[in-house]
Symmetry: C2
Subunit: 331 residues, 2 copies
């Protein structure tokens, strides 16, 4: 068995669970192992909270000591303080697997690279390097680095992050039956809906087709997660919308009707919801497709027509549904 690859794959799988949700940060996973013994699996969950390495270290501390910590491990500052006060050799026989080079950037707390170098782990195994100038260089602070394990897979995980630095990362969300029918009411499980609402909460713009607005009369809020509703752009050449459509009534949100796609040139995270028309109009702009596939075959809903080549990137179970992350290729 290729153990380095095995543990790195666990870190990658964990990171995928938070893909998109860490915006504007990258999705990152980390795994702690001591003499081949798995101690913890963790991932960065949300910008402003602890990085993956810190969460993996805290969870590894709990496994090794048998004690529960008494603060919130998502609190980055408390977690760093706690880890730095452990006995100097506490993690000396441990290896950490991280999907991305630990950050060298000092903010409120020490950087992860400096934390790891002070904790003096036996090995630090890194899949790929930090693509952002100023955040990189973490590797140089560390001893005993193994670099490049599952690098290609880690680069795919990192792709949205690299895109939204330069321009909009356009994620098209599609909820469908297993025979590819869309629309026809609520197709998806509660877990899927709650995931969509988390993505809506995190994105800069929710971009939706004019026809979908006219026909479905959606609210487009985040009621499943009680988060703030996203600002909405409606893709339409005309502005004749019934102002009674619920999405216009949501508090503290901007709604703009536009047929100008130049906003996609701005570094941002744009979530797209719509049907066949929106898929076709936006085809050249779509980076990734996120399909929530429900476990049924149906005659009721609509089939949709488009030619698009994809790469499947990752599959995750969402309640009874399956969530399929894929990338448009050949455009």
């Amino acid at each position: 068995m290729q153990f380095d690859e095995f543990y790195m794959q666990l870190a990658l799988n964990e990171a995928w669970k938070y893909q998109g949700l860490t915006y504007p940060n990258p999705a990152v996973g980390a795994v702690m192992v001591e003499n081949g013994k798995l101690l913890s699996i963790a991932a960065h969950q949300k910008a402003g909270t602890s990085h993956a390495e810190v969460l993996a270290l805290i969870a590894a501390y709990e496994t090794l000591s048998g004690e529960k910590i008494e603060f919130d491990p998502l609190n980055s500052e408390e977690s760093h303080d706690f880890l730095l006060k452990l006995p100097p050799k506490f993690f000396a026989s441990c290896t950490i697997y991280v999907t991305l080079e630990p950050c060298a950037h000092h903010g409120k707390t020490p950087s992860c690279a400096s934390l790891l170098s002070r904790l003096k782990l036996q090995r630090v195994v890194i899949a790929t390097c930090d693509p952002i100038k100023g955040h990189d260089g973490g590797m140089n602070l560390l001893q005993n680095v193994t670099f490049g394990i599952l690098r290609e897979k880690a680069e795919i995980l990192l792709e949205p992050f690299k895109i939204w630095q330069k321009r909009a990362f356009v994620l098209f969300k599609l909820a469908q039956t297993s025979n590819g029918r869309i629309g026809g009411g609520y197709l998806s499980s509660k877990a899927s809906l709650s995931h969509v609402h988390q993505l809506r909460e995190r994105c800069d713009i929710l971009f939706i087709g004019g026809n979908t607005v006219r026909e479905d009369r959606p609210t487009l809020d985040c009621r499943f997660t009680e988060g703030n509703a996203p600002n909405v752009k409606i893709y339409s050449h005309t502005s004749d919308f019934d102002s009674e459509i619920p999405l216009f009534k949501v508090q503290d949100r901007k709604v703009e009707i536009t047929d100008d796609l130049s906003f996609l040139d701005q570094p941002s995270f744009v979530l797209v919801e719509g049907g066949e028309g929106m898929l076709q109009s936006l085809q050249k702009k779509i980076d990734w497709l996120l399909i929530y596939q429900t476990p049924k075959l149906s005659t009721n809903a609509l089939s949709y027509n488009i030619e698009m080549n994809l790469d499947f990137l990752h599959t995750e179970r969402m309640g009874v549904d399956m969530m399929i992350w894929s990338k448009q290729v050949g455009y």
Copy 2:
């Protein structure tokens, strides 16, 4: 972390890779761990070859000793002999995770339960018990058994095995695009095709719709795996088929044209290939659906109409495709 669940899940995942291919045996996975250190992951691959426990033990031996064995570990007899000649305490600090109670049945080689009891492992963790009278009782031969870890998931893995003891296990295979289009030439990756051909090789009967035979003029052999072509039943009320259709020309196979479904009452493994018509005609008889989903959206191929509720059971990557095991529910 729930480590027992974690390792059992690894064993289950590995077993799923050989679902259907172990016929008439059940799909079984096993994982070896020493003091929390992962040593090996294995699964039963094919009837007549080593069981999952034996393959996991052999691979664990290789990890622990750093030596490669010089015989084929799929050879059950040689593997048992080798394992029984190891120093008595070789695996004394190891735990084995097995998705199914080790067999108590003595054949050419000692049973897995007796092998494990002689190897005196620290713990034997078992997900669920052997449903076949005469094969069960393995647990009683063992010391330090932990039973019931991920039992429900293990029962799902075992379901085809339980069905094909009593009547035909009917697996409907469907190759489709991600927007649910079928037909239209070769949709699937080489890995998917080779997997289908392995299933064809293992099944008792390949059952195919008359319209598919007339329209696609298939060969239905196992050329990707160089295996023996399966016997074919064509579902049709009339026997007016062009005898030049390639499937009739394949050597050493029986072809029968029938509209009588009573053969499905016999304990057996029946693989079904067909389109919308076959799905609809056989709906009440379908146990599981196996979808090979290709990474593209298409306008060319046909959409299909049927109402069917499914449970997603397992997803596996097959080259660029995704293979989705699902179960029909509500019938």
